[in-house]
């Protein structure tokens, strides 16, 4: 009987503790900065075009082959009286979110920091009725970055906290 009394006492003690559950729709758990949901493309605000040059590096490195990349000549390139220094630019881009396993490899291999893992995804935004709708095209992939919804954290392989804070210091110097 002693053991049972002890466990009942513990249950009662836990009952009096502050609850850890939250009232969901009225409270959303803050998402950590590093949260990795699905890959998104980033938008270059300065010259109004995507960062992505369609170099196929991510497509080749993706372990589950869920990306399709097509490139074209950039109509906005300097030699064509444009403002951009990108000779080639992305034409069509599909990522099949149903197949993506969120491994972050595409972000690591990209040389242009053109792709980032979405860190604003709470788990329900991409709900669809048909799996076909999970194949995202270029417009959908860029939309979050264009509207400034994504506060991207583009991890650099091997980056230590010291190098992160150095980079931050440089950034603030530039902005000053």
């Amino acid at each position: 009987m002693r053991g049972i009394a002890k466990s009942m006492a513990r249950t009662f003690a836990v009952f009096l503790r502050k609850p850890v559950t939250r009232d969901y729709p009225s409270y959303h758990k803050p998402i950590p900065e590093r949260d990795r949901a699905f890959p998104l493309l980033l938008w270059d605000e300065d010259i109004h075009e995507p960062f992505c040059t369609g170099c196929h590096a991510c497509e080749r490195a993706c372990p589950v082959e869920c990306m399709t990349v097509l490139m074209k000549d950039n109509p906005n390139h300097k030699t064509l009286d444009g403002t951009s220094s990108r000779r080639k630019i992305i034409d069509k881009f599909w990522i099949d979110y149903a197949r993506c396993m969120r491994c972050n490899i595409c972000v690591e291999v990209c040389n242009f920091d053109a792709i980032a893992m979405n860190n604003t995804w709470e788990g329900h935004e991409t709900s669809v009725y048909d799996r076909q709708d999970l194949v995202m095209d270029l417009q959908q992939l860029l939309s979050q970055s264009r509207t400034g919804n994504i506060n991207e954290w583009v991890p650099v392989l091997g980056q230590t906290n010291e190098t992160i804070s150095e980079a931050d210091a440089e950034d603030s110097e530039v902005s000053n």
């Binding site: 053991g3 049972i4 513990r10 950590p32 590093r34 949260d35 972050n104 392989l157 091997g158 980056q159």
Partner: protein
């Protein structure tokens, strides 16, 4: 047990009785996944049990042969989804052994902290599920998930994902832990210690729980070794064997902790070994936190695409459920020629027949629960 057996055989001399074939699974909540066992029962007593596995087979080992070493990490996560850090650890350490890579100090400590934390979260999962198996529905399960949630939130802050971390890389870890990592781990350790206390006083002395678990499903040390069991399930039988101490990898030789062993090898010992092991894990993590010094987390000259010289290696680590080994053959180039996972769950499952035969049907479920299998690791 012997009494019951003789009773039933007496009775079958009087009455014509027939064995009953009882199918459990594949979609049965107490099999912890998709697992099927066909039991032959004589009245209430199990006479034979045949496990059927393979429902969760995804061919991760074969897939790894077509992937370069970085791409394979994601598949290793999925072979062991409750302790993905430990699974990754074996894989990346095998690659490092092949490629002869030196891992920086800080990366080793980070790896050690995270794999021990993962052991905690995996054991919490076991405690909760095992409580449900024994019939204490709800309370332990919710307690376990409360603690596991705190751990998983921490993993999410570090690696960005809650289950499939893809955080360890050949040579180190992918990126540094957050700045407030040490404080966060300390916070989580306090809540985890509290959670272990909760379990200890809720179950470990509870007479009903003891009556249910003590003396059920015993296995001797010799048989446990012969059947290839490992991890807490083996130590519960009194075998003093822990890869972390016997073949220290990472920095396990530099921290103080004890290997926990049981005596009887019954269901209760397998449960209690895990509870005590969690306290040891907390000890290890607190020591690691003191030693964590700033520094690089990947070797200085890391090639963009890792290539290994030809060779073969078998590397084993102590995962929460036992020995998780990776046998890797390379013929040169950027992908393994063969990658075989030695899964602790599959080997522990071999003991199911011996543990279950002669016990009651109702105990078959807690015996299966007590060896703590994860079906994704059994089937891979």
């Amino acid at each position: 047990m012997v009494e019951v057996l003789s009773q039933t055989s007496d009775r079958s001399a009087e009455f014509e009785t027939q064995d009953l074939l009882l199918n459990v699974g594949p979609q049965h909540p107490s099999t912890h996944g998709v697992f099927r066992m066909v039991m032959t029962v004589d009245g209430e007593v199990v006479r034979d049990v045949i496990p059927y596995i393979g429902y969760l087979h995804r061919g991760a080992e074969k897939l790894c042969e077509t992937m370069d070493f970085r791409q394979g990490i994601g598949f290793m996560d999925r072979t062991e989804y409750l302790a993905a850090f430990n699974a990754e650890l074996s894989y990346v350490m095998a690659v490092e052994a092949l490629a002869d890579l030196e891992v920086p100090e800080r990366a080793q400590w980070i790896r050690m902290i995270l794999s021990e934390l993962n052991r905690l979260s995996s054991h919490f999962m076991f405690l909760g599920a095992f409580g449900v198996d024994t019939g204490v529905f709800g309370t332990p399960f919710i307690y376990a998930w409360r603690e596991r949630e705190a751990l998983i939130d921490l993993f999410e802050e570090v690696s960005g994902d809650r289950m499939m971390y893809a955080y360890f890389r050949p040579g180190g870890v992918a990126w540094d832990v957050p700045v407030n990592f040490v404080d966060r781990v300390k916070e989580v350790l306090i809540s985890s210690a509290q959670g272990i206390d909760d379990f200890d006083s809720l179950l470990s002395e509870n007479e009903i729980f003891l009556a249910r678990t003590q003396g059920v499903g015993s296995i001797s040390a010799e048989r446990a070794i012969a059947l290839g069991m490992s991890g807490p399930s083996l130590r519960a039988s009194g075998v003093d064997m822990d890869i972390r101490r016997d073949e220290p990898y990472l920095k396990y030789d530099q921290v103080e902790w004890d290997v926990i062993t049981g005596e009887h090898g019954d269901v209760f010992d397998r449960y209690y070994c895990r509870v005590l092991e969690m306290r040891e894990s907390i000890k290890i993590i607190s020591q690691c936190l003191d030693r964590l010094a700033p520094g690089p987390i990947l070797p200085e000259k890391m090639p963009r695409m890792l290539r290994t010289p030809p060779g073969e290696v078998y590397l084993r680590t102590e995962a929460p459920r036992g020995e998780y080994g990776v046998y890797m053959v390379s013929k040169g180039g950027n992908r393994p020629y063969r990658c075989k996972v030695r899964s602790s769950c599959l080997s522990n499952l071999q003991a199911l027949h011996e543990l279950t035969v002669g016990e009651y049907v109702a105990d078959a479920i807690i015996i299966l629960g007590s060896i703590d299998i994860v079906l994704s690791e059994v089937d891979r």
